[in-house]
Symmetry: C2
DNA sequence: CTGTTAGCGCTTTCAA
DNA sequence: TTGAAAGCGCTAACAG
């Protein structure tokens, strides 16, 4: 007595064989229909399709992948879910993946490292077809060796060790420059930069320096190491604001460090924006929180995600050119943490 | 001429066959060693292990899964990555999964629904061994039918339609009660509750009502529908704060609605906590942001995640009992948004 | 204790 | 056009 797999209610998931049997054709014919290959008679095609829907058949991606066709999943390597920047980036990615039927599999690097695991390994074990690394994960080394086997796309960060990968970033130099110019236009002359990690941090610093120099404020430059999180931003802002010559404006590496700077100002009895103006970076949803209302640099985050996904898709599709670089423009969003310089 | 798969540098990933060949044993012997089955001589075992490490062999989970042993991945269904509550929950989950070698695959329901896809289907296509649904995803219907085939664990939400699933939650009644009592202890007598969605919202309301009643404040009860996000919290808080009899204390459904309430108070020219105290729920990292410093209810979020993961693991391991319910205790974290009632 | 054999569900030659 | 057969990498049942 064999198990009945032909009725929808049966326990076992229907296989391609069940479909074939029900449609009165062979396995491979079904396969061809499913992959919409040409050369199948219309009658048989509809017969198959009908059987598929009657059975509620779902092709088993595992088997498909094993037979050599990829898993239809792309790994998304995030370094810390806490950074709200990712939310919108993921939105962009998902949107671009949707028509292709590719599923994003998110893995959080910070959490995994805490439990002593390699996110990249997790993703490879799942046999993802490509990996999109978001921001700086601290697992770059793994990516370098990986990129030979699996397409890698870097989003919002640069290739730290000449990985052969596509790169999608915001225009960090221009964005930081805009933020700084925004403050300069408001009359600020002492402006500090809270520097973030990696090349992105440096590029933003460069934009900041350019704006400062162009405005003839050269010797007012203060750049302090501020990391990428709230706590480090707080510490850095405190140092800067307690200096002999206190800046009236702060350009922060990202929104989180900016939030930290806000707290630091508050703790020092400085009001914002009356005593000190703060501009963040990335324009995450946190910046928009009414109570915070943080001025920030809009980064085209959604577009970065979408473009990264597109690159990944192309690589999966077989594109084999050299690593590409795509840069998305930035703009400033003025909210309530930036105002005219105090007299 | 066949491809050389025995040297580490070769393009193709080594298979169990390569290992067997190199160790001079049979495929199945290797398989046994890898799954640490008993009954293998020590010499052969070490030989196999050596070959494995020399080749850098990684078992192909796809093949393993196809052969009937699960994918070693469990799907994490999140309804909106924007809610910081998930961050810590995921931390708890990952921690519990680590020793078992199980990988969490995160899927964001909000994003998928936006692009018209079912998160559950994505997860099932990946053939996850179990699904942990976090909070209220709006995809409950799918879970109901699913739970017959794949273990489902609900975390931070209750079974809306008698799904046969394990459930892990915070003690919502007690938590809301604590929050309300915290305000009462501070002298507040007019306290409003910003109600959230679903059963969780109701349970928190219940805790709130109990505390109010116990304190003999019965007719001061104001419960307003406030959703789960900042915007809806803002709208709700405005309604409540513009009423003839303005409350001096607000218990919010979660931190996000509380943040919205903070903004509403601010926009109405009310200072917090001098004019109105606000208590959030979940004690997410957002509550801890210095500028916000939101009093909140700590929910044992990490523990909820860990327990949910444990349940999932047990189900995967074959546990087949009826749906279990685990409740994690709550406590209040007083920060700067709650203070003595105004005179 | 060890090796052989037969699938898991799918794709992919290759004949018919 | 269609169908049969081989095989992806692994596990499991069985015989040596």
């Amino acid at each position: 007595m064999t198990v009945d797999r032909s009725s929808p209610g049966s326990r076992r998931a229907p296989t391609i064989r069940d479909v074939a049997q029900r449609a009165g054709v062979s396995k491979s014919l079904v396969s061809m229909v499913l992959r919409s290959e040409p050369g199948v008679s219309p009658e048989r095609r509809t017969a198959v399709l009908q059987a598929v829907s009657q059975l509620g058949y779902e092709p088993n991606r595992l088997a498909r992948a094993l037979a050599g066709n990829g898993t239809g999943a792309v790994g998304i390597l995030i370094n810390d879910l806490r950074n709200p920047w990712y939310v919108e980036l993921l939105d962009g990615i998902s949107t671009a993946f949707e028509p292709a039927g590719v599923a994003p599999l998110i893995v959080d690097s910070a959490t995994n490292q805490r439990v002593g695991r390699s996110s990249i390994q997790i993703l490879m074990r799942q046999r993802v077809d490509a990996i999109i690394a978001l921001g700086t994960s601290g697992e770059e080394a793994g990516l370098t060796t990986l990129s030979a086997r699996t397409p890698v796309v870097l989003a919002g960060t640069y290739d730290p060790a000449s990985i052969d990968a596509d790169v999608v970033v915001g225009d960090d130099v221009a964005g930081a420059r805009l933020a700084t110019e925004h403050l300069i236009a408001l009359g600020h002359r002492r402006i500090a930069y809270l520097r973030g990690p990696e090349l992105v941090g440096e590029l933003r610093e460069q934009g900041y320096r350019e704006a400062i120099t162009d405005a003839g404020l050269v010797d007012m430059i203060v750049a302090d190491e501020a990391g990428a999180m709230e706590e480090s931003g707080y510490a850095s802002a405190r140092r800067v604001l307690e200096a002999i010559v206190r800046p009236t404006g702060i350009v922060a590496y990202n929104d989180l460090t900016a939030i930290g700077a806000l707290s630091a100002a508050q703790d020092l009895g400085l009001s914002c924006p009356d005593d000190v103006s703060v501009v963040g970076y990335d324009d995450t949803y946190i910046a928009g929180i009414g109570r915070l209302s943080l001025s920030s640099v809009r980064n085209g985050t959604f577009d970065i995600g979408a473009m990264a996904a597109t690159f990944a898709l192309e690589r999966i599709g077989g594109f084999d050119g050299t690593g590409r670089l795509h840069r998305v423009p930035s703009s400033v969003v003025a909210r309530r943490t930036s105002g005219p310089a105090p007299l």
